[in-house]
Symmetry: C2
Subunit: 197 residues, 2 copies
Amino acid sequence: MTGDRLARQVAFLLEVDRLKGIGRQSYVLGGERKENSAEHSWHVALMALVLAEYAPPEVDLARVVRMLLVHDLVEIDAGDAYFYDAAANEAKPDREQAAAERIFGLLPSDQAADLRAAWEEFEIGETSEARFAKGMDRLMPLLHNHHTQGRSWREHGIRRGQVENRLLPDLAKASPAFHALAVALIDDAFKRGWLVE
Amino acid sequence: MTGDRLARQVAFLLEVDRLKGIGRQSYVLGGERKENSAEHSWHVALMALVLAEYAPPEVDLARVVRMLLVHDLVEIDAGDAYFYDAAANEAKPDREQAAAERIFGLLPSDQAADLRAAWEEFEIGETSEARFAKGMDRLMPLLHNHHTQGRSWREHGIRRGQVENRLLPDLAKASPAFHALAVALIDDAFKRGWLVE
């Protein structure tokens, strides 16, 4: 029994290696290439540890980290929809549900249900943990863009209003400190011409 | 106060982005390139969540995950010493202590001490959490090598005895299930000629 169970767990862990091949739009800070979703998942999970003190007191940090470690797995099948591409994001939910079914389904059924629930919780974004996790996922690309002179924004001609509309509500829900930081960074990026009006 | 504290935390998070540029010897499973230490850190942290049931009951999983998220940060300055390169591993401790001083030192001092302690705990490998975390760090490259026909072993002419000596004691300390899995994988790899005598 253990053998079969462990075999399924290993099969899942090997399959998700493919997240290392899923490209995102953010550049690594050296600027030589865009990052992938596995690196990003590590970075936001670590971010949650470092910024935990800004979370409301009821937040269970271990659950936040768990969500962040699995939040992008569905991209293995469904791909990464660019955050500012409205059409791609519209079409996303169905593809992602099918991806979740297949990928989490590689695990023993109790774990499949458990980790899929963590992913759903993140997607729905209503619990305190999901709000904080989503805050990490919003803040990190903003930091990346700001520290690469808005490189990915400029490449896609992103407007200030788009960034504000897509980021600020989620950041306000995560923590007032993140909202304030984001407002300052967006303002600065606009002044420097990295975001257009 | 919050502003300066948050600024230090953000500076740390931006600096550790460089872990995405630290190459390891393991190939991603598609085989097209070697992985980096940021991707690896994500993969072993997720592995700890999935394989948690094999840990002794006293293990605090959140502490294991925390260790795994920071366990390779010192490589940003000290580089990744190949696991089977005895000379490189001999020279490692001094370089890594200096790296830990600088990198964790970017954080506010309470957090610097806290995350550096997590890294030290992993390195020393004596607590139940560190043993389990180290088990993840040993098991993953074995799975990667086995699933790429021993590619990185063959590239470096690694012998069966080297793998056994370097992996099996740590895996036995982490869990009997991992030790048994490793013995089977090493045996299979040897039979297929991916490891030499």
